[in-house]
Amino acid sequence: MINKVMSNFDDAVSDIPDGASIMMYSWGAAGTPQNLIRALRDRGVKDLTIITHNFIPAWIGSHVCSEDEIMTPYFLKGRIRKLITSWPRPIEAASDIARHAEEEMGKIELEVTSHGILAERIRAGGSGLGGFYSPTGIGTVLEEGKEKRIIDGRAYLFETPLKADFSFVRAYKADRRGNLIYRAAERGANPYMAMAGEITIAEVAEIVGVGEIDPEVIVTPGIFVDRIVKIHDGGLGSEKQRKLLCQRYLSGEVEK
């Protein structure tokens, strides 16, 4: 019988070595595999290659969240050798966090691209393509070092596929086969990142029985998922914890 469910996050990331490449989504709080990221940080590995659309802390209203509030890939800083991203630093350039991000950028190999190119490169990696031609970035710094080709009269840049040793994924519900559904903006990059990891690990709010998810609405078929861990009630990113954070920072009780 197939059973991809594991009991805790530490076990789920226990075989990730120094130097591993890992992709993970993050769009503020939405869709971020917070518990896997924390377990990875706690494991103490280094020289990681991190592939993520955004490399910033999450915020709620005007409050920028700490790693104990909303864990994001940004908090892996100091353990990263190479970062591939579309958004490497916070929007407010004057903050402490922005200064720390800037320091981090100075220490690592940074590859910046557009969200669309990043999405398509990961999808190409997960689906076995050798690369593709994209119209984005013509006439910009993204041309540097890339093959340019005119196809049917329009200019395109050659983009290479992206895969990773591990993909961290966050989903709403899973069954033991690894079938996943997401909740609203939680979806984001999770479906195609799930396809592009040699080993894909999902953290989920709920685990249901096989057949309980309508076969028409499964977004990530279990074939792409290797390990599943349930987020405990009140844990990072759980509904309860997020509601508490919203109340705290949006109700006016706490001023930042």
């Binding site: 769009w27 709080a29 939405a30 999450a58 579309s86 958004w87 490497p88 100075g106 990961i122 109340q247």
Partner: protein, 223 residues
């Protein structure tokens, strides 16, 4: 200096460009405000690149009870769900953009050149930062509208002969809406179509690096 249009009025003017049924992506900053100013006789479907079509108005900070951190737009701000909403993944969101399926995008900008080159991101000495989805939108949307303040905080023109900031895309901007004017980017150059109430053509030209050509139907901006 004389009074310029507020960000809200700029956003209202931008929504006038949308036709009933348009699918429109709004960039970070002033463009995001457009979602709150759609006239009731138009059904505009807003697209956000994190994977949503048809999102509603942004929630205010005092609406804590209604905030759901999974219901956020591309600027990671919580919005109000509304009927006809549709969620999908970011690869499909960018297929829509790159594939030419969006009727328009409204983007913020640091600079626009006389040829319609767009610069809307910066990089520090150490590293490039914040390309985001702007490059994809500038290349893919059927119509690129820039919504920005006419001049920088230091008073320098943002509409320039040549962009000094790194480019987002070349010759992509169709229309520039600022707190002073509405300017079309056409074959013949920059066509001044509308001026903000109380502003003279010469005053606007003085704050614009390339030469503006007055449209035949040049008129005062209205909503």
């Amino acid at each position: 200096m004389k009074e310029r249009l507020s960000h809200e009025v700029m956003a209202m003017r931008a929504t006038k460009e949308f036709r009933d049924g348009d699918c429109v992506n709004l960039g970070y900053g002033i463009p995001n405000l457009c979602v709150g100013f759609v006239p009731p006789d138009k059904e505009i479907i807003f697209h956000a690149e994190n994977g949503v079509l048809g999102y509603g108005r942004l929630l205010f900070e005092n609406e804590a009870d209604r905030v759901d951190l999974d219901y956020v737009d591309a600027g990671i701000r919580p919005f109000e769900p509304q009927p006809g909403l549709c969620w999908f993944d970011m690869a499909l969101a960018f297929d829509m953009i790159r594939g030419g399926h969006l009727d328009a995008t409204v983007l913020g900008a640091l600079e626009v050149s006389e040829k319609g080159d767009l610069a809307n991101w910066t990089r520090s000495a150490a590293a490039a930062a914040g390309i985001g989805g702007g490059m994809d939108l500038a290349v893919g949307a059927k119509r690129v509208i820039v919504l920005m303040e006419h001049i920088t905080k230091k008073g320098e023109p943002r509409i320039v002969r040549q962009c000094k900031f790194p480019l987002t895309a070349k010759e992509c901007v169709n229309l520039i809406i600022t707190d002073l004017a509405v300017i079309a980017v056409e074959e013949g150059g920059l066509i001044l179509r509308e001026y903000a109430p109380g502003w003279m053509v010469e005053e606007i030209q003085a704050l614009t690096e390339p030469r503006l050509v007055a449209a035949e139907a040049l008129c005062e901006m209205s909503l």
